[in-house]
Amino acid sequence: MADVRQIVIDIISDIAPDEDVTNLDDQKSLREQLDLDSMDFLDIVMELRKRHKVEVPQEDYPKLASLASCVAYLSPKFVTA
């Protein structure tokens, strides 16, 4: 089973290398805790597709708001990916 939480954190670390991702609150919005903007979220979507062949349709972008929602939304996709 893929560690979806870690996969998302790894991608964020590459996209926003100046940010400290060691103590993120899974329930809080990522944008509340990190300096991320809408373009960064597009990069996250892009990297999920490039690295893991996981597609996130535009209408589902809000589901990537927090680490917890990322895990809930992406985990089934990793099972079938």
Binding site: I15, A16, P17, D18, E19, D35, M39, L42, D43, M46, R49, K50
Partner: protein, 411 residues
């Protein structure tokens, strides 16, 4: 002339393959230290090229570097260094009256090639094309990145002018200051060309790509054994101000810009035209109110190609026939061809001559091509010439764009 109509250089920020500030760069030029190395170019393998080694994160976060471009990174470094060097009280400067004018040879090839490469690596999945592609490749991008970085709200744009870009950027800055559009111009030229595959392959196809076992000897302008261009990246940005403003704040003045000209060959896509080059130099001298004998140093564009060097030599010989005291040098033997940055960088390399009275030599011209002989050519060793008052800087480019810029020692 009224001091509000006189434009001076009060700050310099640069990165070249052999130095990341004016002191380092000048020292390397005087010591004949090359910055050209062998590097691995995608698909082509080992090629000679000049890469800059400045600290990309001195003025930019890792995230914004990733989002932006190499051209933007070079521009941001040079602009910040120039502002720091000028000792402008940046917090107090009216940012709406600052303009950014950067000459470029081309822009966007690095990013486009990378996107296509990534798509090929991923079964032509076009959905992997980056959302950053457009802001990265719009032609104003390098200048725009400077405004984002320095909170400049005045005008910004790049000047697409092939390898005349470095001079053209400066000329644009001068003109905008004279028009009263801005009070401070960050002007010069930049290039990230050595990061692209296409430019290497195209010069190779033209038979104009420099090759040598010892990369430091690959760029050999005017030498009998020259075999092409060593492609380099680089940048040089000046702080330009009206003399009245510079005096008011007691700024150090590197030089006054007293003449310039830009013209077009209208003869060929790539082959230069000596006659138009002579006209360009003479037009700049006339605008400065000088005669050819007033010019102490001419920096040749001299790229190291067969016909380009001969044509320019013919032009310089003809343009300065009436002068016996004009020394001639070139810079690309040391740093290769920094494309859009060449004009502004090469001018910077000669500016310290106003203080030390020394002409830096052209490098790697060990067997001068008789067709490239020109009066008072300074090669391989620096020459102490005494008082230097005027420098003329040549910068020419494809599609027949010629530029000449004249700076005067300020006293």
């Amino acid at each position: 002339m009224n001091d509000t109509q006189r434009i001076v250089m009060t700050g310099i920020g640069l990165t070249a393959p052999n130095g990341n500030n004016l002191t380092e760069f000048r020292k390397a030029l005087l010591e004949c230290r090359s910055g050209v190395k062998h590097v691995d170019i995608r698909y082509m393998g080992k090629q000679v090229a000049g890469m800059c080694e400045f600290d990309e994160f001195k003025y930019q976060s890792k995230k914004l570097r990733r989002r932006g471009t190499r051209a933007g990174s070079i521009s941001i470094y040079c602009a910040n260094e120039a502002v720091a060097d000028s000792k402008l009280d940046w917090a107090q400067v009216d940012k709406s009256m600052v303009g950014v004018y950067l000459g470029i040879t081309e822009h966007g090839n690095v990013e486009t090639e990378e996107e296509i490469f990534q798509m090929h690596q991923n079964n032509l999945d076009w959905k992997l094309w980056s959302p950053h592609h457009n802001p990265r490749t719009v032609a104003n991008s390098p200048a725009g990145e400077v405004t984002l970085n320095l909170n400049i709200t005045g005008p910004h744009y790049t000047l697409g002018s092939a390898c005349a870009g470095g001079n053209v950027g400066i000329i644009q800055g001068v003109q905008q200051l004279l028009l009263g559009e801005v009070d401070v111009a960050l002007a010069g030229g930049i290039s990230e060309s050595s990061q692209t595959f296409g430019i290497f392959a195209a010069f190779a196809a033209q038979g104009a790509l420099a090759q040598h076992e010892d990369a430091s000897q690959a760029s050999r302008p005017l030498d009998k054994n020259r075999n092409g261009i060593a492609i380099s990246e680089g940048g040089c940005v000046y702080v330009l101000e009206r003399l009245s403003d510079a005096k008011k704040r007691g700024a150090k003045i590197y030089a006054e810009i007293v003449g310039y000209a830009i013209n077009s060959d209208a003869t060929d896509f790539v082959n230069p035209n000596s006659e138009r080059q002579v006209e360009c130099m003479h037009k700049a001298i006339k605008r400065a109110g000088l005669t050819v004998s007033d010019i102490d140093i001419v920096n040749m564009h001299a790229t190291g190609t067969g016909t380009g060097d001969v044509n320019e030599t013919v032009a310089v010989r003809r343009a300065f026939e009436a002068s016996n005291k004009t020394y001639v040098n070139f810079t690309k033997g040391h740093i290769g061809h920094c494309m859009g940055a060449a004009g502004s960088l090469e001018l910077a390399g000669n500016l310290p001559s106003f203080e030390d009275g020394v002409v830096h030599p052209g490098m790697n011209c060990t067997d001068l091509d008789p067709e490239c002989e020109v009066k008072n050519l300074v090669i391989n060793e620096p020459k102490k010439v005494g008082n230097v008052n005027y420098i003329l800087n040549n910068s020419f480019g494809m599609l027949g764009i010629n530029s000449a810029l004249i700076v005067k020692k300020y006293s």
